[in-house]
């Protein structure tokens, strides 16, 4: 993807910037020669813009660009504007590593805004470790990235939801529903890879913690991106569970539901699909089953605040499509980055990292209008997490149950201790 054009509206400034940019362009790899106060803040963004997960990159870059434009329009950092340089790693971790390094060493990026999926994030994480550059991961939900002290990098942060948080809230909600409806026999069907396994394990753990009567009578593990779920579905049908959990996502979830419907798998069964409340899936699935429960990937009415709805409308107007989970995570990440830069009054990575640690910002995505970057493990807390039943039409989740962060934090700490991470 090409660089974000940065245009000032005043004529004289424009002329000076143009001259500087021209001089800079003529020598690839050498720092742009321009007046110090107009020197743009270059932020590199490796992400996935092609292949099966292209929507991740598209949603992420759209959201990041929107925040960058707002920041630049408001004057930037003492007049310095952000220049976001976006690169496609095509979903390959070694390419992500190379691209991140190139952004820092050749393109003069002072910070990396990492829009990679989990395996790519781990690769970029090592670049952060080796080069000592500030990195904010916005799409990786794997807890170990920030929770495991052995992996931690002081200049690497995560602004995304985490599986463990979802699991606590989801487990509590599902346990309640299970008590009300007498759901004791459960089965799971999730994609067989790290995210799928970890998320499912965590959900079941907390489901059982909140409701001791639960029995998981079978687990099915189709491969990621598998087109045909017939054998998984028939296995579920044979098992005759009362409730099914799944963390299948995106296009696969759409396929799964379409295929499950022709087997009438979900008729008279409760289906807990954590990734269902995603506008991409909700608009693609033609027959949303009854008895569907989901977590909130992103919904414009959750949290039910004007700030959130406004942001969603602005995003939709600009990008002609509804925001996804990756969208809010990247928007929040950029909000954090700009706030930290203002607090440190600098674009130096180390100073910004200091400012980021423990920083609380106003954000439309917080439980109480605020988000905090937890200092002890460089990851965000207090974002709105919730579960609820899904309807087939807007607003899709009419009565979401918001998770309590007090409960989440307690249980998360205990979970970390069990893993030997705290």
């Amino acid at each position: 993807m090409t660089q974000l054009p940065v245009q000032a509206s005043q004529g004289r400034r424009q002329l000076l910037k143009g001259a500087g940019a021209l001089a800079g362009l003529s020598s690839l790899g050498m720092p742009a020669i321009s007046l110090a106060q107009n020197k743009p803040i270059r932020i590199g963004m490796p992400t996935i813009l092609s292949g099966r997960v292209a929507m991740l990159g598209i949603a992420s870059t759209s959201a990041a660009k929107m925040e960058v434009e707002k920041f630049n329009a408001a004057g930037g950092l003492n007049g310095r504007k952000i220049e976001l340089i976006i690169r496609d790693s095509k979903g390959s971790p070694q390419e992500a590593s190379r691209v991140a390094r190139e952004l820092v060493t050749a393109d003069g990026c002072e910070m990396i805004f990492d829009g990679e999926a989990s395996s790519g994030s781990f690769a970029v994480h090592e670049v952060a470790r080796d080069l000592g550059v500030l990195v904010i991961h916005t799409c990786s939900e794997t807890s170990s990235l920030t929770a495991d002290p052995k992996l931690r990098v002081p200049t690497a942060f995560r602004c995304a939801r985490q599986g463990i948080h979802d699991a606590v809230v989801g487990g509590a909600y599902a346990a309640q529903v299970a008590k009300e409806k007498g759901l004791r026999r459960w089965m799971t069907v999730s994609p067989d890879y790290a995210y799928g396994r970890d998320t499912t394990e965590e959900f079941i753990e907390y489901l059982k913690y909140f409701n001791k009567d639960i029995e998981v009578i079978g687990e099915v593990w189709p491969k990621l991106f598998q087109p045909d779920y017939s054998e998984s579905i028939t296995r579920l049908v044979q098992g005759k569970p009362q409730a099914i959990y799944s963390c299948i996502w995106g296009g696969d979830l759409t396929s799964f539901i379409d295929q499950a419907n022709i087997y009438a798998l979900l008729k008279d069964r409760q289906f807990f699909a954590v990734n269902m409340a995603d506008y991409a899936v909700l608009t693609a699935v033609k027959n949303v089953p009854q008895n569907l429960h989901s977590g909130n990937r992103y919904l414009k009415n959750f949290p039910n605040t004007t700030a959130n709805t406004n942001w969603s409308n602005e995003y939709t107007a600009k990008n002609k499509e509804l925001p996804l989970n990756w969208s809010w995570q990247n928007a929040a990440g950029m909000q954090f980055l700009t706030a930290a830069m203002k607090k440190a009054n600098s674009s130096d990575g180390k100073k910004v990292a200091e400012a980021l640690r423990g920083l609380t910002i106003d954000s439309p995505f917080g439980t109480n209008g605020k988000l905090t970057m937890r200092a002890e493990d460089n990851t965000i807390v207090d974002y709105a997490v919730g579960w609820g039943t899904l309807d087939t039409k807007e607003p899709f989740m009419a009565k979401p149950n918001m998770g309590s962060w007090k409960q989440i934090s307690e249980l998360e700490l205990e979970w970390k201790k069990r893993k030997g991470w705290a």
């Binding site: 092609s50 095509k90 190379r98 781990f122 470790r129």
Partner: protein
């Protein structure tokens, strides 16, 4: 004649190495350093594949199996034990050699397309083991947390400049070794087997054994490429053993040329440059790369060095005729 020719190669190698080591002193550009490190890893990988394809007539679809085995063995040794880098490299090479021995013994008996498919099947099996054995390999996320790089011989491979020097030396040494092997009597026997296996058999050559040795050697060198790539990304990923990596190697040798020793290296450099430039300029890089490959396959119909070599030979012939 061969001894004289090899001194020439050694001298050339020394000159190239000298030039390479000068580069970081001449320019502060880090991008050149990263490029050379990747070129060393992929160039060795591609040239090792050409040992099988160009020189041995054995089209392997599964060569990335050894690239991956080298990377994983190396990275795991460093992560789990306190061995130094040279020892870890040795572990990677020996491990890959053993894997190549077992798999090669089964595969080289087959001919042509069946050999190709069998190597592909083994590679996919290997890949699926990497994905399933999550406790050892980290599964689809690869080896996370980075690899410790204990300093040795005054080199700290966590520094790009030191890694660059290391990669340059390893690269030049591997190329010289591969050249030596291919110019040796073994190399000539291999080519004889490629051209006419039956005749070679009649001459008393154990064709199966020659092919097996070639397979093992190719696997060993591929694993060195994997080691370098593992150092570059500070880890190892399942992608290293996926069919896309094998496919890239095939591209490199087809675009660079199978009949010239340095063809695959040229192909690697070309492909890396295309990749780096194309991903910077357009989001439709599949389209761009696909068109470039079509031009090579349908237009040139052979790799660049083959094209140049043919042109050179044609010139020589017409020069002699007139």
């Amino acid at each position: 004649m061969k001894r004289h020719a090899f001194t020439k190669e050694m001298a050339l190698g020394a000159v190239v190495l000298g030039l390479l080591l000068l580069i970081p002193l001449l320019t502060p550009s880090r991008i050149a350093l990263d490029f050379v490190i990747r070129l060393a890893a992929l160039g060795i990988f591609a040239t090792s594949l050409n040992m099988l394809v160009g020189y041995g007539g054995m089209v392997s679809f599964g060569h990335s199996m050894f690239f991956g085995s080298g990377a994983y063995a190396f990275a795991l040794t460093l992560q789990k034990t306190s061995m130094g880098i040279p020892t870890a490299m040795l572990v990677a090479i020996v491990f890959s050699g053993l894997v190549a021995l077992v798999i090669g013994a089964i595969c080289v008996r087959l001919k042509e397309i069946y050999f190709s498919f069998l190597t592909l099947a083994f590679q996919m099996l290997f890949h699926s083991i990497i994905l399933t054995w999550t406790t050892l390999t980290g599964g689809d996320q690869g080896l996370t947390g980075g690899i410790p790089r204990p300093p040795f011989l005054g080199l700290n491979l966590a520094q790009t400049t030191d890694l660059y020097a290391f990669a340059s030396v390893v690269g030049v040494v591997c190329f010289l070794l591969m050249r030596y092997i291919l110019q040796s009597p073994f190399g000539y026997t291999l080519r004889m087997v490629r051209d006419n296996a039956d005749r070679a058999q009649f001459l008393g050559i154990n064709v199966w054994r020659v092919k097996l040795y070639a397979f093992i050697l190719a696997g060993v060198f591929a694993s060195v490429g994997g080691v370098l790539m593992s150092l570059f990304v500070s880890g190892a990923f399942p992608d290293f053993s996926y069919w896309t990596m094998s496919g890239e190697a095939v591209f490199m040798i087809m675009m660079g040329g199978v009949n010239v020793f340095l063809g695959p290296l040229v192909g690697s450099a070309l492909l890396l440059m295309f990749n780096d430039v194309i991903t910077r300029t357009t989001e439709y890089h599949g389209l761009a790369l696909g068109l470039v490959v079509l031009i090579f396959a349908l237009g040139f119909k052979r790799g660049i060095t083959d094209f140049v070599l043919q042109g050179w030979q044609w010139l020589q012939r017409s020069g002699r005729a007139s």
